[in-house]
Amino acid sequence: MNVGDGVRIALRAMLANRLRSSLTMLGLMIGVGSVILLVAVGNGAQDAISGKLANLGTRSISVFPRGTFGENTGTESRAPELTRDDVDALRRRGSAAGIESVIPVSMPTVTLTWQGSSYSPEAFVGTTPPYLGARDYDVAKGRTFTEREDVERRRVMIVGETVVDELFDGRDPIGEQVSVNNVRFEVVGVFAERGGEFGGDGDDIVMAPFGAVESNLTGPNVPLGQILVQATSEQTTGLAEREVWATLLAEHDVDDAADADFLVANLGTIVEVANTTTRIFTLLLAGVAGISLLVGGIGVMNIMLVTVSERTREIGIRKAIGAQRVHIVGQFMLEALVLSMAGGLAGVLLGVGLGQLGVESFQPAVSWGSVILAFSVSVLIGLFFGIYPANRAAALRPIEALRYE
């Protein structure tokens, strides 16, 4: 008896019970399919998040005032936490400290008015031109503002698509004069669409030169929303981060970093944390899917046990005409194996197929590792859960099996 004979016998038995076989395979198919799909979803989420974070640049070091994160440090009476002075102090450190540029970010609350309609964007950002590069902002229409316009405090601004829709009703805003808290700014550019970002609308934004915002909207020495420090390279990010700490602690006259009234975040670290989080998320999804795979395997065992007791008489006949134990074990193991392989293959098709579907900006990424893993696990499960029924079949005593009706 060779494998070919065995497979033929197994296939015949499966075809004889089409409905039952397909339901058993369905269990494994859903198990394997969901492992592949959920791992793909996890990977897709990871790609999406780390892609977005990479947009922000791994050379970026962000400095936030402590109050940004809702901590009341009881320093209201003290000088503003991050100011223009901090920016200047950091600029003086320069490339020796691994710092390429220091970008102040102020975020006043404003109302835009144009031809009688008004709108408050989610973010109104006063900053310097390098911010656009550091945060990967592209201009789809018009132009960006220049260093020179910043220095000259020119009242120009770039708007996002949402602002175009809300304030200009979708019309081309280039060249329009918009009143920002009663100060006129000229629209010079429109940002390329960014979509949803960290729970917010990445297109609901207006950006204007820092100098113009300072002199027209906020006044000098206002608290900054953020200071963005660009390191000269990824390798110097660590050095720059240490320098930022040292400089600002000295500037704020604080001895212990734990008492600092500001926070320093390195985007590389944030990316890593985010990756770890999504990896755990992926593993969790895979674990849940693995349980359904296990349930599918138990289904195989269940059906094989039914098959064995249903075919007790057949087993008796086979033994009476000289089948060895190994023949009977082999026959039922092969049957379990064929079932689980067929179910596994169907699951691979299902998982890979569904993994191609994406929702808007989110695209699941099918990992071939998970395909191979899920398929081999389903086959192993088939083998494992086939062992017991097969041995039970082989252990039947021929006379009892023959007497069985």
Binding site: D5, R313, I317, R318, I321, R325, L402
Partner: protein, 303 residues
Amino acid sequence: MSQAEPSRGQGSSNGQLAERPELAPERLARGAEQPAPVSGQSSGDPGRAPRPPGQPVVLLREVCKTYRLGEVSVRALRNVSLAVREGDLVAIMGQSGSGKTTLMNMLGALDQPDEGRYLLEGVDVRSLAESQLAEIRNHKIGFVFQGFNLIARTPALENVELPLVYAGVGRRERRRRATEALERMGLADRLEHQPAELSGGQQQRVAIARALVSDPAILLADEPTGALDSHTSESILELFSEINAQGRTVIVITHEQQVADYAKRVVQLRDGEIVDDERRVKLADAPPALAGNGALASRETLA
């Protein structure tokens, strides 16, 4: 790998034998041209070694078998001694509960005696392991059951091939031998039919072909006509007679009196004991159905 010589056996002179029963003793010599013994057994295997005709194929010596059904123990066989010689056609008769099924299981190496010995072609079955028993059933015993016991949804040809599959015979060889066996049963045009597409008589003939395909020492039939109408029963019994005339030892276990008319020897079993053992036709003679006298002989034969 078991019987390597395809030319030997029932096939070659099938028809002539029935007409020339006087040749039967010579045909009984299963000895000299026998191929190599089956695996796991030495070349000195008495079962396959050359030996004179009329040697006991089956030898039971004071066999006892007791079953326990809960608290009650049932003595199914009590000191049964029986010798069946090569070429015999034996009917073992008994009512239900007489122990004939236990005896059948014993003879078929499906069960082991509690006491006493069972020698099949000189091999003590009691000393064998499970795998060796399977081999014995495969090579030395051909089973025919009341319920035909064909594998469902499997064509006749594959059913007949099955013992050869388990014996490890190559695909082409077993196909050839299975086809030959079915042709001898008059089923040449039913090779690809599934059991459900065959009549009872045809199914039983497929079962007989399956029993004979591995060229066993004995053909063991358990109530082979129990599920058949009387006309079909007769044709099956005549088939047994012809198989016997070709030299095969046939043991039929039955409760039907009609079967005894076809046997050379009738053994009566009651309450686990042999109560009567009557030889009706000499061992060397043709079976009653083919003897050319009496009512049985007037019936036309099947082959």
